[in-house]
Symmetry: C2
Subunit: 304 residues, 2 copies
């Protein structure tokens, strides 16, 4: 079949969307500086030398500076005692130049990650992992929302408009993506099913859904014939696989080549949800800054 | 058809289960007193004279005393200023005799209920409504769990044993029942669907479910032919309806007479979930007391 004969889903372009969002954030940052003499600041803490984490932290730093915000990097050796890290966080909690604090996960094993998350002031917790923020999201209050689900929801709203009454399935029940994503979808009045490794007939759950959010970290697990024709597919997975020729390739949790023939719209990997995460981190930092200064500025992408 | 020919669901006896749970709690309370010289104390705050709330508070007081715990009642006039209520809560937060604090809802309109909920120390918040506890439940941590979902889950576990892999539908997305119930079911490895007023085909969602939790407050909304044969039905609704003869009657959210012919097990109304709520409030008070005193006692019904 040629392309013109194939039914092909609309590609949801996370690169373009996140670039526009970052531009919008930069505009707001400049307004804040010019009108209120406030510069939002993001502090990122990295413990140890995990190569992937180093790449993430470097990208965050670069993107933060590009919007005109301050970026504060704290790189600590892998053997940093937990108490040292907690003291650093206390200092950042009290630092008026810092509006967002992110501790890069995973942390070395000798550090209790939950304790570290709970040490961050909830109103500076731009990852949205503190129990206060988790609770505010679950109960419909105003807090800070985890970046990847927030970015996924922005793409969904941009693609579909109102989600009210649509049937959504979230595959995966992690605290970082699956559960907060379910709350965002419930808030948007979707009928939401949370599926996971214990789900008996995952294909049937997916087939019933108008919206599929895949967040399991299993390369190409969701097959094309599981997708309801016309459904919107958000692929949160980023998995590196080795091809027969020994080269590696990034793939999502969805078998893209199959799904793109069935879905109404789909995020590619890379270039879908991925770039939204940092953009939403910057948005959360701007939001936190405005709230900490009691400034009622128009939020970049006010949806959430 | 006579009864012997009809397929009839097992009745889930919340009266018997809650009485046994209260006995177990009383045993633990006496152990705490004898071994550790600690008496758990529950403070209940009632603002105004809502008749239903007065009945609830009276029942809580009676049941608390029956287990050997201390019960502290604070009845305030309907025009109590919010600041006065917040000052009272601060005092209860600091009172070493008080291990559980419950502010009876609804509150008069001039009082911001969310502000009041957030004023209660999370480790004394035996209703489990504080954002911290909501967040701990959502993220799989250890907090205090709202009483009605906790009681519903105890009945489910008692009826079914392991719930892993079962398909559950929760009808209703309230912060008090629907959303925490969904989290408890996810934690038990069910595939969980949250349905609500915007759900397009509620009957189809219910028909697919092995476990149905109805928490919408709509009398007899869930029909018998929506129930999958053999499913377990937990009816959280308590609605008073007026019969043609002018008398009133309590009914659930499920059309019981129909559903009992199809379901495998079902809670009646009254006598199902209802009596579990106070029993779980007492359990949460005991749990909070043990944690506040760093006592590692066996919990009454340690499941949750």
């Amino acid at each position: 079949m040629t392309d013109s004969q194939s039914p092909r889903a609309k590609l949801i372009d996370g690169n373009a969307f996140s670039a526009a969002l970052r531009d919008e954030i930069a505009t707001r940052v400049h307004e804040l500086r010019d009108l209120h003499h406030v510069v939002p600041g993001l502090a990122v803490v990295l413990v140890g030398e995990d190569p992937a984490s180093q790449v993430y932290v470097r990208n965050k730093h670069k993107r933060t500076l590009e919007t005109g915000m301050n970026s504060f990097e704290h790189k600590l050796p892998a053997d940093t005692p937990e108490s040292h890290l907690l003291t650093l966080i206390e200092g950042l909690n009290d630092d008026p130049e810092v509006h967002g604090i992110l501790v890069q996960l995973p942390l070395p094993r000798h550090i209790n990650a939950q304790k570290v998350i709970e040490a961050i002031r909830p109103d500076k917790d731009v990852d949205g992992f503190h129990p206060w923020n988790v609770g505010m999201l679950a109960s419909g209050g105003i807090g800070l929302i985890p970046c990847t689900p927030l970015g996924s929801m922005m793409l969904l709203r941009d693609t579909l408009g109102s989600l009210s009454g649509l049937k959504a399935v979230v595959i995966g029940r992690s605290n970082i993506v699956g559960k907060p994503m379910a709350h965002l979808l419930i808030r948007e009045s979707c009928t939401v099913t949370v599926a996971h490794s214990r789900t008996k007939d995952l294909a049937a759950e997916v087939r019933a859904a108008d919206i599929v959010v895949a967040a399991v970290g299993q390369p190409e697990m969701v097959k094309g014939d599981w997708i309801k024709p016309g459904a919107t597919v958000i692929d949160v997975g980023i998995n590196r696989i080795t091809l027969p020729d020994g080269k590696t390739k990034l793939v999502g949790d969805v078998k893209f080549d199959e799904a793109v023939q069935v879905a109404g719209a789909i995020t590619p990997v890379p270039g879908g949800v991925g770039p939204m995460t940092i953009a939403c981190l910057l948005r959360n930092t701007l939001t936190a800054c405005a709230r900490l200064h009691n400034l009622d500025i128009p939020e970049a992408h006010p949806w959430a």
